[in-house]
């Protein structure tokens, strides 16, 4: 059951991963961007954990703290999109103490709507939107005995595979045009590595 305790555990885990892959994320972003993705992710997660003592049983409240952490620490697109997603999730989970299956689906739906709106992103642009979309599909079509962790792991990998050889169509990477075919989208790569070992 996903509650406050579980939430902190997950952020602890993500933070460990963000440190482990710090250089990899920066490097992946550096090849076709400004090389700050590792910084963005680690700083945001660090700030969330700095504030975990303020977490309450109200998950909505906690997600707002998470959103503010990314607002404070990130100057990057990824960080701002995450902050927007967390803010909108917070609003929808207000007062909730744990998540149902449909809450989980809703969270991903919110992320997708938010990123499309705020990032002016389309499916197929080769961004985190495409990864989240695949996760959502897989979660939605599974009916019972759902292993979220397994889905996260396979979907983030599969999304990366699906876009090999394709061009990135949005964000700073777009500048590199044809060259982006040879690289994974750094945001998609990061999602994949962050859930590794879940």
């Amino acid at each position: 059951m996903f509650n406050k305790i579980e939430m902190i555990k997950i952020f602890d885990e993500l933070f460990i991963k963000s440190k482990k892959y710090y250089n990899d994320f920066n490097e992946a972003d550096g090849k076709i961007g400004d090389g700050d993705l590792g910084i963005t992710i680690q700083n945001g997660l660090q700030e969330i954990l700095n504030n975990k003592d303020n977490f309450t049983d109200d998950l909505g409240h906690n997600f707002m703290i998470c959103s503010q952490a990314f607002v404070k620490k990130s100057g990057s697109s990824f960080g701002t999109l995450v902050a927007f997603c967390l803010m909108n999730i917070s609003k929808s989970l207000k007062g909730k103490k744990f998540l149902t299956h449909s809450n989980v689906i809703e969270i991903f739906e919110i992320c997708i709507i938010t990123i499309k709106e705020r990032g002016k992103t389309n499916y197929g642009d080769k961004t985190i939107l495409d990864t989240l979309d695949l996760i959502l599909n897989k979660i939605s079509e599974t009916k019972d005995n759902i292993k979220y962790n397994e889905i996260f792991k396979t979907a983030t990998k599969e999304a990366l595979e699906n876009f090999k050889g394709k061009k990135i169509l949005i964000g700073r990477a777009r500048m590199f045009d044809e060259k982006t075919r040879d690289f994974d989208d750094p945001g998609m790569l990061a999602l994949c590595k962050l859930v590794e070992g879940f």
Binding site: D36, K72, S74, G75, S76, S77, T80, A83, G171, R174
Partner: protein, 333 residues
């Protein structure tokens, strides 16, 4: 020829240059009390609409150089070529607010627009009214049909000046927004890049271009333009750029304009004036009246070589506010 820099630790590049800006002009600029990446006016205005902007570093005088009386109230400063964070922008808005609402003038870049949107939503909860104007003057970056997708480049300075002037005269946020919007509609910019610049932290050029090539329409961070071609003489190059600009802005004879010939950094004044001369000849031939020319470094990419031409179609109202007094080291009235 390697581009050498006179700097200290590359990681301190932005911080030190802004400290130098404030130390050099303490009568104009001041650090925000709550955020060291936000610059405000040395003397806070009162009872006027706040004008706020923000954006990446490496473009001086853009963005923060244009803080000053009759121009901006506050500015959020990002890293080199990167958007300021939402946190910095909220601070700039709070500091720029004088109780009459804040007009945010934003260059049309994904990260910047997103971050300003979020910041505006955050300050809205605190009761600060904002409006956002997204500058999209670079005709190379999208077609006329998709005008709103265009990048914001040197033309933004005209908006700072015009909105800043009207705000100073005590107009409401809606009035200031309307005139700034009209200015934005009436501005077109097109540039060429000849050489890259070096990012202090990366220590390597932002893009590659061969010794005899130029790129028409390249953006101020090295984003791709319309086409890459052989370097040619100034006159045919300027004629080409003017033709594209005029096709987009559709000027009639007897209409009034202001012109900005902007160096991206290392292109010297002598060349800008050779360019300005030709722009002048082209417009004069069409009986278009140049009310005022601005020639110099207004929006740069550090030491990048290249330039942009901006045309602002003037109404009487725009003209009056463009020519009004202001106080800022990078603008002569």
């Amino acid at each position: 020829m390697y581009m050498k820099k006179i700097i200290n630790e590359p990681s301190n590049f932005v911080k030190e240059s802004i400290q130098g800006l404030v130390a050099s002009h303490p009568d104009i600029y001041s650090f925000a009390k709550d955020n060291e990446s936000v610059i405000t006016r040395a003397v806070k205005a009162n009872n006027k609409v706040g004008i706020v902007t923000g954006g990446g570093s490496g473009h001086l005088p853009v963005f923060t150089g244009y803080v000053g009386e009759g121009m901006l109230d506050a500015c959020a400063i990002g890293s080199v070529f990167a958007s300021p964070s939402v946190d910095q922008i909220t601070s700039a808005i709070r500091n720029g607010d004088n109780g009459n609402g804040v007009l945010c003038i934003i260059g049309n870049y994904g990260g910047d627009v997103m971050n300003f949107e979020m910041a505006c939503e955050i300050v809205a909860e605190e009761g600060i009214k904002t409006k956002k104007l997204i500058i999209a003057d670079d005709i190379a970056s999208a077609s006329y049909q998709e005008k709103s997708k265009r990048r914001g480049i040197a033309g933004m300075i005209y908006i700072f000046k015009i909105a800043g002037s009207l705000a100073e005269r005590g107009k409401s946020i809606d009035e200031v927004f309307e005139l700034a919007l009209l200015a934005n509609e009436n501005i077109r910019t097109l540039g060429v890049a000849l050489s890259p610049c070096i990012l202090p932290e990366a220590g390597k050029p932002t893009f590659e271009i061969s010794e005899d090539e130029i790129e028409i329409g390249m953006g101020i961070h090295g984003e791709p333009g319309i086409k890459r071609e052989k370097l040619r003489q100034a006159d045919p190059l300027v004629d080409d750029l003017c033709e594209r600009l005029l096709a987009d802005i559709k000027l009639q004879s007897e209409e009034k304009v202001s012109i900005m010939i902007n160096s991206l950094g290392s292109t010297p004044l002598e060349e800008l004036y050779i360019i300005s001369k030709r722009v002048n000849e082209n417009l004069t031939k069409l009986k278009i009246k140049i009310i005022k020319s601005h020639v110099g470094r207004y929006a740069t990419s550090m030491e990048m070589a290249g330039m942009s031409i901006t045309v602002l179609k003037l109404t009487d109202d725009l003209e009056k506010n463009l020519l009004s007094n202001s106080k800022c080291p990078f603008w002569t009235n």
